[in-house]
Symmetry: C3
């Protein structure tokens, strides 16, 4: 269903550019990332929300920026330097400039015993603390009695920033529904989580901005995780009702099979589209909603209960590289990124094409012969061979076109590919046998 | 459940009489067939609709009659003669009297390469053409350069004819519902498709016309396929709402297992009756609705969406003899016809007996002892051993007699035969513990 | 979930006291039994309904009392004496004092050919008759031509008696719902059926009467089977609507696995609680409703259709000792009684704890950190290790707290134990994140 104009290399190029930036949920790094996006797509608006603003049950935190962080021996020898890897610094560390005993230092160190060469990614957004993340190997070298700790950070009133693009529907007779894509972009040097999704979203936006036939509107938000979606929801509380389908994008660049996590509703249209595509086209798997993971937790909270699922390849917490320094430019591949881009365009194609057709000739079968459709074999739609349809598909569409069945319902009852059913519906609309609902 | 007074031989005798008549969707042959039926049953009304009449999305075609058709060598030797087999002529062939080249002739020949001895049945109702159907063997003998083609047919303004019988409900406290049986009778020398169903319908009508205890009304229509049901629906558009159950009868004389094709609704009462009988009594199978096959396509179009299924033995297109000269008097057997007759009478029995009982003593169990029903074992209903009921069946009927459960619902929840449940309900009505809904 | 203060021996002690009393559906024995119960629990009210009173479709029968019954040889030798075993006398036997032929006597004897040493239990409440129940062995000794039969009974106007206790809800913000426990206590020397349930009910009542935190009210009725529940329903026809859950207790002292028989509704809350407990804790099995068995037949008649199931161990009619002299003090065990007591207290715990929570912070996730619940591990509730909950359980409760999901719904969707979900809901209520429905 998709036009694969975007190349794997373009996607990978974005990841290479985004990956090294030091980001947190607030501060210069996330703004630098939003500026990168703004340079690639049209009409990105960047919003800033002041620290201390109340958002739903939360408060926008102080802004945090980091400029350097080291652990040195008292001899001056540098043992850990943030400049080596920006995961070394515990996110939201307060400034420290002190000589500390080894036992005191160890209370502030984070490592992974089972993965002795990897540096973990850790945060302390809402509890004031300082710390270093390092490999178990690095940690084993810290045997002196005392160390000099130097953390140069600023934590104070500032702003939380996020980016947003609305691509309005352009087709004649367009729909009022909106599609939400939510991409967290608050993590520092983690390539899959979530530079991959930022890269893919940029290219999806470029595709959609180039089209003039969109029936739905598309909204993309680039936000810090959790507090970002909560802030956005707080500021859009009344308009989220227009969201018909939504998707959180995360960890989309690795070589794992696609994983679609259902919305809380479980049987929303997007859940059914994804389930169809997993079975018919993508492979991979569908997993049920649970109130843990990414920002779908917020969109699917009971007050909103939006039809928002989450698309991943290897799911959060289920790959060894997750939240470590191994989630790097080797873990993400051009091919993985490009396949994920295709999955999203497949979903967009279903969102765009599906509707509940109404037969304009519902009493008895229409006479297809005088309309040139008797034993018609429909041509392909673009280059998708699955969109070829046969006489039987035409008859199924006509038979179920009572306004109660979507094209996907029809495809599943008829045992025909969705693209063929959509193409048959198009053919029937051209001869005025079928209409969209008023 | 059925009184099998009708013998296999009577049914087969009808097929023998009907089979040889040359029929099409209009013309003398179908009228001759209707007259045969009229001679066997009471009160058949025959309707005639003028060519050109608009019926739903269609137009009643011109009337077609054939008088002869041959292919001769230029020497005069007859190679194909309609008199040998009335399938030889393409239905709705226009008149031709010409010498044609072999290559021209071949554009108008229809044969089956894989079944070299069989003559296919072909039509061209809505595209003006001429042609011959012949065996692949016959065709291989046509090696001359030229042939004389002689087709003596008439195509012009005339009438489409169909037959209709209404057998009104006769029981006291009768129901307003109607049962529709639809039988196509437009095919020439095909014994199973559909002389078999005409024969069986005649005998079902005779059974029902002899009864005085019918709760439902029964309507039988004998029509040309497709255009006939469309014409009948166009003329009865507002009254079809009274149809509670309906059944298209087709291909009911061969030795295959019974096949019930569900209505579009899929869970209509008739679908459940047939599923019950397939499982409990008939064997065979239930297949889902699809918008292809016989006149159920019209009854189940979305504007009507009637509860009309289709009863067959070997389904259309799934037996080697289908639409060929092998669908003859050898393919249809007296035993096959008689069993199908029994299936229909089983369905009638369920339609007649089922209702949603209402307990007249719904608070606590009624005391069965003082009504002579304590540990009662109910007698047989007629000669059906399945209609014997036990105490447990009585208790189930009473327990579920809340107006929301049909007798079939009760039978299935209780795990008891439907005839036993129906007999238990009768026994409870006799002692005023149970009533029909008002 | 249960406080097992009641010991197996206390329960068995009740059975030993209740077992020997000669009971029928009316008369001194059932009143003596009610007086025993009255001596063990507070506030038992005993109702008396006069013979001849119309109750639903039935009439309260005459009161029956027995004083002695023998079969003697004409020599005076006693062959059968009611004093040996109170099952010997057919219940509701009329008085007889006559010499009868052996053939006449045999019309009035009941024995079990397949179990030659056991005396059966038989009744003739609604057909005036007399008779003796005896072992096949005893019967084989009756070879004389004539015997002297002496049955000293009284059958005449009197009263039907039953006992009733209401334990009102005591918790602040209590519920209006009521739980019905129904225990038949009309059988003579049958220990499992149903001295076992009387014994257990006494101790359940004592537990509940000692509590001050009951959200629901609990009603226990001790009744003669069938006519007792019919009489009680007739006198409480309008108030049964307050019954939210109900349970018939029967045959609860043997060593068989627990059997929960569903209510007619099949998916009532109590049906789901029992199914959960069978799967998670008890073992045993759930069997579907059928309109046969104990007094659930009356509660589940279509006019009432109450959510009343039946708890048994070995089900009625499915153990060899059923309705015979082998249903004695050896068949019932202290351990079996005590386990059944626990099952009932488990059900009570679920009835008490379950509700449909409503999030007070439904838009986005609440910030658990500032409420001390971030990564909280909840403590045990009493001594139930299953009530420990984790962060994920808290998130599930919050996510599904939309007033449409019960705690059991949440437990089942989350795959968490019900006690953990209930404890998490308690923790969330303590920090004002969750409320009960208004």
């Amino acid at each position: 269903m998709t036009d694969m104009a975007t190349s794997p290399d373009i996607l990978y190029g974005h990841v290479k550019n985004i990956y090294p930036v030091f980001r947190s949920i607030t501060g210069k790094g996330i703004r630098q990332t939003l500026e990168y996006i703004s340079g690639k797509v049209k009409d990105l608006s960047i919003s800033h929300v002041a620290s201390g603003t109340e958002v739903l049950d939360w408060t926008v935190p102080e802004e945090w920026n980091a400029y350097g962080a080291t652990i040195r021996r008292t001899t001056g020898e540098v043992m850990i330097d943030w400049a080596w890897c920006n995961l070394h610094l515990l996110q939201y560390s307060i400034p420290v400039h002190a000589r500390v005993s080894r036992s005191e230092l160890e209370k502030h160190l984070y490592w992974i015993e089972e993965q002795p060469d990897l540096i973990p990614y850790r945060t302390s957004y809402y509890r004031k603390d300082w710390g270093f993340c390092l490999s178990a190997h690095q940690r084993s070298l810290l045997t002196d009695d005392e160390y000099d700790v130097d953390i140069r950070t600023e934590l104070g009133p500032g702003r939380l920033s996020y980016g947003e693009i609305l691509i309005p529907a352009t087709a004649p007779g367009q729909d009022t529904g909106e599609v939400l894509f939510s991409i967290h972009c608050c993590h520092p040097a983690l390539a899959n989580d979530n530079a991959s999704s930022v890269a893919i979203a940029i290219e999806v936006i470029r595709e959609l901005q180039a089209r003039t036939d969109l029936r739905l509107s598309y909204r993309f938000i680039f936000i810090p995780g959790t507090i970002g979606s909560i802030t956005w929801l707080a500021r859009n509380r009344d308009t989220v009702r227009y969201i018909r389908h939504g998707l959180v994008l995360s960890c989309l660049g690795d070589a794992g099979a696609p994983t679609y996590k259902q919305s809380r509703q479980g049987n929303a249209a997007i859940d059914r589209y994804a389930a169809y595509l997993v079975q018919a086209r993508w492979g991979g798997k569908v997993v049920p909603f649970e109130p843990y993971g990414y920002d779908e937790r917020q969109y699917c909270s009971p007050g909103f209960n939006l039809a928002v699922g989450c698309l991943m390849r290897s799911p959060n917490g289920q790959f060894a590289q997750y939240h470590t320094s191994a989630d790097n430019l080797d873990f993400v591949t051009p091919a993985g990124l490009h396949a994920s881009f295709g999955f999203i365009m497949d979903l967009v194609a279903m969102m765009e094409k599906d509707f509940h057709p109404i037969s304009l000739c519902p009493y008895g079968e229409p006479q297809l012969g005088r309309r040139g459709l008797y034993r018609a074999i429909g041509g392909h739609d673009g280059d998708d061979p699955e969109s070829a349809f046969d006489q039987m598909t035409l008859l199924w569409v006509l038979n179920l076109a009572d306004g109660k069945h979507s094209l996907l319902d029809i495809a599943q009852r008829a045992g025909k590919p969705f693209p063929a059913v959509a193409a048959a519906a198009e053919a029937l609309m051209r001869v005025d046998l079928l209409a969209r609902p008023a």
